[in-house]
Assembly symmetry: C2
Homo-oligomer: 236 residues x 2
């Protein structure tokens, strides 16, 4: 069988939103449960669309270090206005904001992670804060060996300090870490730091009305349909 080029890899670091959990489906479910009179899919997309610009405000120094929970709340307050939702209490807003802690894993994730964990150190590398990722893991049963977050490095992806930080934490060279993600830009930034990369197809990430292009990029080390296929390729 052909070599995968991954023989030295010791650590698999996983992007989380979209790659591990279905944020679109989860936000739609919570918005619907709360009885908001909005297009729940459009609401989910708008909330998520605010994420990169909010992080850029932190990265540029316009905002000091701010956790994703707090950025999510800034965006939520903004889009509630845009969607003409005016009746939520503060407690309801706080509850809705933590919907990001209650997202479900894609169906292949837990089985795939259990297999991958038997051979590799498996950790998160997410811009989500530690408390969010720990709540999510506990609720969804994600068997991480370690939860790493932008919060540990005080930089958001795609800052090199995050990708290189994973290698430092585990005292390995960057080439012995593989980033697993459903986003080519995240993988490209990791590759520029010397990490190996595995692209995971998540065609439904943006919801049923917006199928995602999941074409391979040959610059990635691996391309896998899902975590079970990744475990197959890595012989776990």
């Amino acid at each position: 069988m052909a070599s995968t080029g991954c023989e030295s890899v010791k650590v698999l670091a996983f992007d989380v939103f979209g790659t591990v959990v279905d944020w679109h489906g989860g936000i739609v479910r919570e918005v619907t449960a709360l009885g908001l009179d909005v297009d729940a899919g459009a609401f989910a997309l708008a909330w998520r669309a605010g994420y990169q610009p909010a992080m850029r405000r932190v990265m540029s120094g316009e905002l000091g270090w701010t956790l994703i929970d707090d950025l999510h709340r800034l965006i939520l307050d903004d889009i509630l206005g845009k969607f003409h939702v005016t009746h939520l209490t503060e407690a309801q807003k706080r509850h809705l904001n933590k919907a990001w802690h209650r997202l479900d894993a894609w169906p292949d994730v837990i089985g795939g992670l259990r297999r991958l964990k038997s051979k590799y150190m498996i950790c998160t590398l997410s811009n989500g804060n530690l408390g969010l990722l720990a709540d999510m893991a506990k609720r969804a049963g994600l068997p991480w060996d370690c939860i790493l977050s932008a919060e540990v490095f005080k930089k958001y992806k795609p800052d090199p300090a995050t990708y290189l930080g994973v290698a430092k934490v585990f005292d390995v060279v960057p080439e012995d870490v593989m980033l697993v993600a459903a986003h080519h830009d995240d993988l490209a930034a990791a590759r520029a730091c010397g990490l190996k990369t595995a692209y995971i197809e998540r065609p439904a990430e943006l919801g049923p009305r917006m199928p995602k292009d999941v074409s391979p990029d040959p610059r990635n080390t691996l391309h896998a349909r899902d975590f079970l296929a990744l475990a197959d390729v890595l012989k776990c």
Copy 2:
């Protein structure tokens, strides 16, 4: 049944060296396996005795932020000289230094943590670095929900930033966090920050020749023989 005063507690944060794992027995085992011609028990105690002074050099600013792996190596190089061990290769020293990643849990730990995890968020709060704690957890099967370390807060215990940092990570008030530790000084510092505290008896922490005083301190919220007794008291 009397109230434990712990009804609001949501997070149990565990000290690790001595409380969760048997560092004395582990270091003795590794020093013996390496065939060092030293009193292995005395060597273990000397290594551990260098730990607090080394951290104080960081806390005082004399050393910049330094991970425990690196402090362990500074101390190791010093005590190898004192114990007249001169023949180790660099690779052997690196391997021995990582003995702290390969410590075994006390026999009650895994059963106790599994029960406590069913009701509480369970995390580490250790001065050990993240990589050390993750390696240890993976090898020993410690089912943490989240690994927190001085490395996250860039301060060593007993700095208040560590105890208060746990509460911030999980978005709870300090009173809703309980520190679990086998050391009264660690617990006292946590209590001063408003945390609840549980003392765990580890009479053999310092080895068989040096039984530890495990008398209760009535200022702690709870006193338990081991993690199974703690799970009993907390009705897990």
